[in-house]
Amino acid sequence: MRRLRVVAISLGAACIAASCASSHDTTTARTVGALSAVNHATAPPVLNPPNRKPKWPCDNSDPTPSLRPVGPLPAPEQMPAGTFMQRIQQRGRLIVGVDQNTTGFGYRQANGEIDGFDVDLLREVARAIFGDPAKIEFVSVTTSERVPAVASGQVDIVASLLSITCTRWQQIDFTTEYYRTEQGVLVRSNSSIHQLADLGGKKICAIRGSTSIAAINKLIKGTGLKATIDPVDLRPDCLVDLQDGAADAITSDNTILDGFRVQDPQTELLSLSEPIEAERYGMGISIAHPDFVRFVNAVLEELRANGLYEQLYTQDLTTGLGIPYVAPPPPEYRS
């Protein structure tokens, strides 16, 4: 009788064990699920801002005219009531979008601080608002995030080799042009590519979200070069691909290519009979803040006039990248 009970208990426990086995499977599913959830964690998609139609005639050959400054700059810490500058002043810091991988313009120093020409100009904007160039917060934005970061209000202003184009005017406002360069091509020193025509059948690296991609595609289409484009997210990814042999050439703004040449002396620029495209840099600001556009344009006028522009240029670009000083294009205004 007692043995029977033992058998009965064993039998009952066996059924419990069967359900236990499934609870163990649950543990495996739970842990594997947790690992896979983290492996697949994704960022929210970058929303492209809605387009507007510019109310002025935007000329693709010169899209630079911006908003004219109104009167002299207000004194630091005394931003006029109701302006966006006053909101920035009350917040206590200017939030700016920059790149931290572009030698000369916006790059991370060994001590973790961000430096460069774009960064120094933004510090002057902070100085104009606060009287203190250090009241600034840097947000690193990739090339394709520059316009959305401004349009969504994530940053107050972006300065990151941002070319002024009529397409982008549909999404954001620009300050006046503060720097002009051209699109070029960088290859390895021992490369068989010596002119644009040699690019046929080659792999060309370009940065996602840059004007260079559209320009090189147009060039390929026009000449029937049959080159393939290798798009990357971060600017130096192109140099990595060139060094790894994943790309045969890089096309980008000469400013970026100069930075690459400094980091890798075994590369050289193709000499082109004519540039692929002219690039005119302006700072990007949300279309919701025309007062801030006028304010920054006034700051840029002042920098041009008081010699600070030349001083920062020489210190960041001539010393750093060997780019000789060229005076900035005169500002153009449309209203």
Binding site: R3, A13, A21, V32, V38, A43, A110, P236, D237
Partner: protein
């Protein structure tokens, strides 16, 4: 085969009418012939029963042995390989954040992690499914690529070239997080499923049912034979068959009790061993990902926006009442060997507080403050947390080994015992029936 003793005995021509007039209706069946058939059936039945017990005992003992040795080893090797890979990456990103001159301690940690991970991967490549072996191979290959990118990053960082950050980004984001860690996850998953399969095999109810059914059938046959003999021969007790019946009954009870004990031990090894082992290994891995996320978030300054969501996903998986840490806590609570989960839980709380402090600093434009917190207090708390994980994991492994050893011990001697019982039972059947058959000779 074993029926030989019956045929060797020559039977009498006619059944004993004297035995029982009541049974004269079946007088046309030869009683010795019937007894021989009964003998053969009983022998075969006892053998089948013995084989079922022996087979089940061997299979379950093997499964329990696998759980205690190979399966657990593979599971921990896979988890440890993941930990070392993620830790190497975290060490490298911490070094980058701290500045251009890499600290010797971090460099050593990175080197040790990669070396040990490579050794584990070599060991893992020898087992598991074809997919898992392919994944192991992919990880080994990508690891060389990863190390090459990290070397390029270091060389460029020393020169102050910003392309160094891009090399680190490719190493960390694309190779490590894009390929190596997902592939290692699938190796871990394979090891976990293999472990589960052995656990299942060790606890299968089908074998217990088979022993019960076959045992009951053989017992019924034995009892039926004795009833038949009692009616036919008017001898109430056939000592041989009674002994055979008791032997079969004893073997049945022994095997059921042994299987029950083995299964209970395996269940304890699961509850207090393999369940928390998996939960804690995974929790440790996710925490490593978190510190890496915080480092990379600061390095990239928001340019790569997957690190914050990744940290949050990991935090959701770890924390809260349904989180891995709480599940591990409740798994080890109420076991024979409770572990110190309290310290682990509170250290994780401290780690999260550091993370929030660093994030607040970063969000309030105190980048240097954020870097100081993350590479300082947060990294120290992370190390304390990782040490707590390791302590609890070590205790859990001891418990798992102890219980799966008990599961094996429960089955000790059952297979040999079953063989002995079968031989004895057959002898008893033969002896018991031969005397009856000889009466007709």
């Amino acid at each position: 085969m074993t029926a030989a003793p019956f045929t060797a005995t020559r039977a009498r021509q006619e059944p004993a009418e004297t035995a029982s007039p009541a049974s004269s209706r079946s007088a046309h069946i030869s009683t010795p012939g019937l007894l021989r058939i009964v003998g053969v059936v009983l022998t075969v039945g006892v053998i089948v029963f013995g084989l079922v017990v022996i087979r089940s005992a061997t299979a379950r003992r093997h499964a329990a042995h696998e759980v205690a040795t190979t399966a657990t080893a593979r599971l921990t090797e896979a988890a440890d390989a993941y930990v070392e890979l993620a830790d190497a990456d975290a060490a490298e990103s911490t070094a980058f954040l701290q500045g251009p001159v890499e600290s010797a301690a971090l460099r050593q940690r990175y080197n040790r992690d990669l070396r040990e991970a490579a050794q584990r991967l070599t060991a893992l490549a020898g087992g598991g499914s074809a997919d898992a072996r392919a994944a192991t191979q992919a990880v080994t290959q990508q690891l060389l690529f990863y190390a090459g990118l990290v070397d390029s990053a270091r060389a460029n960082n020393l020169l102050g070239n910003s392309v160094g950050a891009a090399y680190l980004h490719q190493a960390s984001s694309k190779v490590m997080r894009g390929t190596i860690l997902p592939e290692t996850t699938s190796v871990y998953e394979d090891a976990a499923r293999d472990f589960d399969a052995n656990d299942h095999a060790g606890m299968a109810t089908s074998e217990i049912l088979a022993v019960l059914l076959v045992g009951a059938l053989v017992l019924a046959l034995l009892i039926g034979a004795q009833l038949y003999l009692a009616i036919r021969t008017r001898r109430i007790l056939n000592v041989g068959l009674v002994i055979a019946t008791l032997l079969v009954l004893a073997l049945g009870v022994w095997s059921l009790v042994a299987f029950g004990a083995e299964r209970d031990a395996l269940r304890r090894s699961q509850r207090g061993g393999s369940d928390p082992l998996q939960l804690l290994s995974t929790a440790r891995i996710l925490t490593l990902r978190q510190i890496g996320d915080d480092n990379l978030e600061l390095i990239e300054r928001g340019a790569v926006d997957t690190y914050r969501p990744e940290f949050e996903v990991a935090a959701d998986q770890l924390g809260g009442s349904g989180g891995l840490i709480a599940l591990a806590d409740s798994a080890v609570r109420g076991t024979d060997a409770p572990r110190d989960m309290k310290q682990l839980t509170s250290t994780y709380g401290g780690f999260l507080a550091d993370h929030n402090a660093a994030r607040n600093d970063n969000d309030r434009d105190n980048y240097r403050g954020a870097v100081a917190v993350t590479t300082g207090k947060e990294t120290r708390d992370f190390q304390a947390l990782d040490a707590a994980y390791q302590r609890v994991l070590a205790d859990t492994l001891v418990e798992l080994n102890h219980q799966s050893q008990q599961a094996q011990d429960a089955l000790t001697g059952l297979a040999i015992g079953a063989a002995l019982f079968v031989v004895l039972a057959i002898a008893a059947v033969v002896l018991g029936l031969r005397r009856r058959i000889e009466e007709y000779a």
